[in-house]
């Protein structure tokens, strides 16, 4: 083939250009430590990296949600712990005052005032706040849930937070469930649905359900006989069915304590004995709530573990997809560097001599 001078120049240009651009590409990889610096470097991997990043951001948020839910649940647990402690104390007192061997009118009067204190403490626990939120008020976190008479002003809302792509956990226990035992016994109270609505359609259905539920519950409430008052007036609604799920019976803690106080003041030994049973129920109601809280904490802890694993996995995936192999890059740089030098050297030889150089 005939070789024209321009061919040689073109060739040198092309080869040098290619080497230089290879070098700059590698240099960029070395500087960023990334194999993929723009989607076209590896489209499939770039899209996957992006998906992994999205997931990572979502997961970090879930971790935050869980931490938030955990502190709420742990605070509830701690409060319920105190509540069960004071109920146990009340039970001790009830035991000691339920017979004539250790109790008499005078001790019962003294005990009554301690029970009053316990009652006050129970109300105070019911009105516990975490930050600006009442813990036992259901959704009505800005409303003091219990007045001194033990009336409930919260609702039975479960505040659910997303802990993973498709799981939600309730972070609160509504006060009427723990303190009033509403919805635990076969008292006809309907509790909100367990599943978290996630679509607009769901929300609409949920809202309708809630309206129906409210009416239904109001109806039940209207026919519900208040049991506060002197021990002799104490009565339950007579159904005494056990909750099919929890096996517990719902009692109104405030009524129990109030009833016990009244019995003590009235020196009503049978009344106190009756309180003993009710206190047992109350304690198991609180323990039950605590175990519910505890199982949620466990659930979120498990989710947390898997999230943290997922976060690491995601990082690994992204890194495997996009990170440059440092050894590879450096050795490629060396290789390209020597190629470049060889090209320069041979280019010099290729361009330099022509016949003219020998015609002096």
């Amino acid at each position: 083939m005939r070789i024209a001078d321009k061919m040689a120049f073109n060739q040198v240009n092309q080869n040098l250009g290619k080497n230089r651009s290879d070098m700059s590409e590698l240099q960029n990889q070395a500087a960023t430590q990334k194999r993929i610096n723009k989607p076209s470097d590896d489209p499939l991997a770039a899209a996957r990296v992006l998906a992994a990043r999205t997931e990572e951001h979502g997961n970090s948020q879930f971790v935050k949600n869980i931490n938030n839910a955990k502190s709420f649940l742990e605070f509830s647990d701690q409060s319920l712990g105190e509540l069960s402690d004071i109920l146990v104390r009340a039970k001790e007192l009830a035991v000691s005052q339920s017979n004539d061997a250790s109790g008499n009118a005078e001790t019962r009067m003294v005990t009554a005032s301690e029970i009053e204190q316990i009652y006050n403490q129970a109300v105070q626990i019911g009105n516990r706040k975490l930050g600006e939120r009442f813990v036992f008020a259901g959704y009505r976190t800005q409303t003091t849930p219990f007045d001194h008479a033990g009336n409930y002003f919260g609702d039975d809302g479960d505040m659910k937070v997303q802990t993973n792509k498709d799981s939600f956990v309730a972070m609160n226990i509504p006060g009427n469930k723990v303190f009033l035992g509403r919805g635990l016994d076969g008292d006809g109270i309907v509790r909100p649905r367990y599943e978290t609505p996630t679509t607009v359609q769901d929300v609409k259905e949920f809202q309708q359900e809630e309206i129906n539920r409210k009416e239904q519950n109001e109806d039940v409430e209207r026919n519900y006989l208040m049991t506060r008052g002197p021990a002799s007036e104490f009565q339950s609604n007579g159904k005494h069915k056990q909750d099919p799920v929890t096996g517990a019976q719902g009692v109104n803690l405030f009524n129990v304590l109030k009833g016990m106080e009244t019995s003590l003041k009235a020196n009503d030994k049978e009344g106190v004995q009756e309180s003993l049973d009710l206190l047992d129920q109350a304690i198991s109601q609180v323990v039950l709530a605590r175990s519910e809280v505890g199982s949620r904490v466990m659930a979120v802890n498990n989710t947390m573990d898997s999230l943290q694993k997922a976060i690491v996995d995601n990082k690994t995936t992204a890194s495997q997809l996009e990170d440059a192999d440092a050894f590879q890059v450096i050795s490629d740089i060396n290789k390209t560097d020597s190629t470049l030098k060889a090209t320069l050297e041979t280019s010099g030889k290729l361009i330099q001599p022509s016949l003219l150089d020998f015609l002096r």
């Binding site: 321009k6 061919m7 990334k34 489209p43 899209a47 609505p197 607009v200 016949l355």
Partner: protein
């Protein structure tokens, strides 16, 4: 005819031939780096011999024509491949700019802003009572709408830049066609005298290549040596010694540059006919790739705004009032991304964000949960993809498109390099070769001069016969 004077004459002509040849060598060397130049050669022919008795006496040589060493078929092939080169170049350039818009490898992009937006609602769901978390939702929403705006305006920016390129390119095309027409005229004038217009033809070949790089053309040379150049199917740019212009201007219906052919009648829109060269590549990126991406971004923005609105309006705000639209509801998909904005009322008062599913429940986060759950719901492509999937697929597709475009560009470049090499091997100037010729003709010149000197001495000898 005296033999000595014939010798003198042969020597003289040989001197002149050598000069002509050396002049051509000089021309070749001088044009060694001229783009599109084909080396030239003097065709030396031996003169018709004279018969004298039984002898045939050679009468030396004469210079015939100066021809260029050139393969027209190859030139045409290079011109055609150059058209693809222009197309691939323009596409790769345009697409690399588009790619930057979707590059989230190094900077924060739409994907992250969307995630932030949904995380904002997750944070709100953690603490629906707090104004701080509500403000976070607002900031995230503002960031996201801005980024939707950024993507659209950057895509539009690419289109505008391509429009500007179209305009410049059309201007260059008009310059080239004018020059081709004037070269047509020169070539005709020269060749009418039966002399090949070598340099003019080289120049015209080069201009046809340059024209083809910019726009898809077909051309043919008539018997008179004039070329006719047509762009697309109907726009006759050069005919004989006349040329017509193209014009790039926006139409009434669309705010984008279209290509018009200014023939003799009313200007005709030929945009759709042009599918090659730089303009073809530019049009492809501008009207297909970018338009397509704009539609996708709009789709995403529209779905997101609509779905969030649908949920939000079912909810209740911090004051127990019915939820309003969260975003200004876009009227149509087209343009949804650029017009996307938060409802002003919510922007001004974050307590209007509706997190609850019922009034009078400050801690109710049901609707906030529904909105944040939207991120993982398959709401795109007829319920087959989540918004993240949809967007990430776009990024992957842009990447793949750019990768393919760059690969095509490279392989086209290789084709061009090979063809150019073949062209150079035929038409290129080699210094060694020209130097050799130079020595050759110099020796010829030298020898011819000696011949004349010898003839002169022979004359002297004859003239001095008497004195001897």
């Amino acid at each position: 005819m005296s033999k000595i004077s014939a010798m003198m004459d042969t020597g003289k002509r040989s001197l002149m031939n050598s000069q002509t040849a050396l002049q051509t060598v000089g021309h070749n060397i001088a044009n060694k780096s001229t783009e599109g130049f084909s080396r030239q050669r003097v065709e030396l022919l031996s003169n018709v011999p004279i018969g004298e008795g039984g002898l045939q006496i050679g009468m030396g040589a004469r210079a015939g024509v100066v021809t260029r060493v050139n393969n027209p078929w190859l030139e045409k092939q290079i011109q055609k491949e150059g058209m693809s080169m222009g197309y691939e170049d323009a596409r790769a350039d345009g697409l690399s700019r588009v790619e930057q818009i979707y590059n989230e490898q190094n900077n924060k992009g739409l994907n992250q802003y969307v995630t932030d937006f949904f995380n904002g609602f997750r944070e709100l769901s953690n603490n629906p009572e707090s104004l701080a978390s509500r403000t976070m939702v607002r900031e995230a929403a503002v960031g996201m709408t801005k980024d939707f705006g950024r993507v659209t305006s950057q895509l539009r920016g690419v289109q505008e830049d391509l429009d500007a390129q179209l305009k410049t390119t059309v201007g260059e095309i008009n310059e080239i066609t004018k020059e081709i027409a004037s070269l047509n005229e020169k070539i005709q004038t020269i060749e009418v005298q039966k002399v090949p217009a070598n340099d003019e033809r080289d120049r015209r070949d080069l201009l046809l290549k340059k024209l083809g790089d910019k726009i898809d053309i077909t051309w043919a040379e008539g018997r008179d040596g004039l070329v006719t150049v047509t762009a697309g199917r109907t726009a006759i740019l050069v005919s004989g010694i006349g040329s017509s212009e193209l014009k790039a201007q926006p139409t009434n219906t669309r705010d984008r540059m279209e290509i018009f052919f200014q023939g003799t009648g009313t200007p005709a829109n030929v945009t759709e006919q042009i599918t090659g060269g730089r303009i073809g590549g530019i049009l492809n990126v501008r009207d297909e790739v970018v338009e397509n991406l704009l539609t996708h971004v709009d789709n995403l923005a529209y779905t997101l705004a609509t779905e969030v609105n649908k949920a939000h309006i079912e909810g209740f705000d911090r004051h127990g009032k019915n939820g309003v639209l969260f975003f200004e509801q876009p009227e149509q998909v087209k343009g949804a991304a650029s017009t996307m904005s938060m409802n002003r009322t919510i922007f001004n008062d974050v307590s209007k964000i509706a997190a609850a599913s019922r009034p009078d429940a400050a801690g109710d986060n049901t609707v906030a949960n529904v909105i944040s759950a939207l991120q993982y719901r398959q709401v795109m492509d007829g319920g087959t993809a989540t918004m993240d999937d949809y967007y990430n697929t776009q990024v992957g597709q842009v990447g793949a498109m750019v990768q393919r475009a760059v690969k095509s560009q490279e392989s086209q470049k290789n084709v061009m390099n090979q063809l150019t090499n073949i062209r150079e091997s035929i038409s290129g100037v080699s210094l060694d070769e020209e130097t050799t010729k130079m020595i050759e003709f110099q020796k010829t010149y030298d020898a011819s001069a000696r011949l004349i000197k010898t003839a002169d001495e022979m004359f002297d000898t004859v003239l001095n016969l008497k004195r001897l």
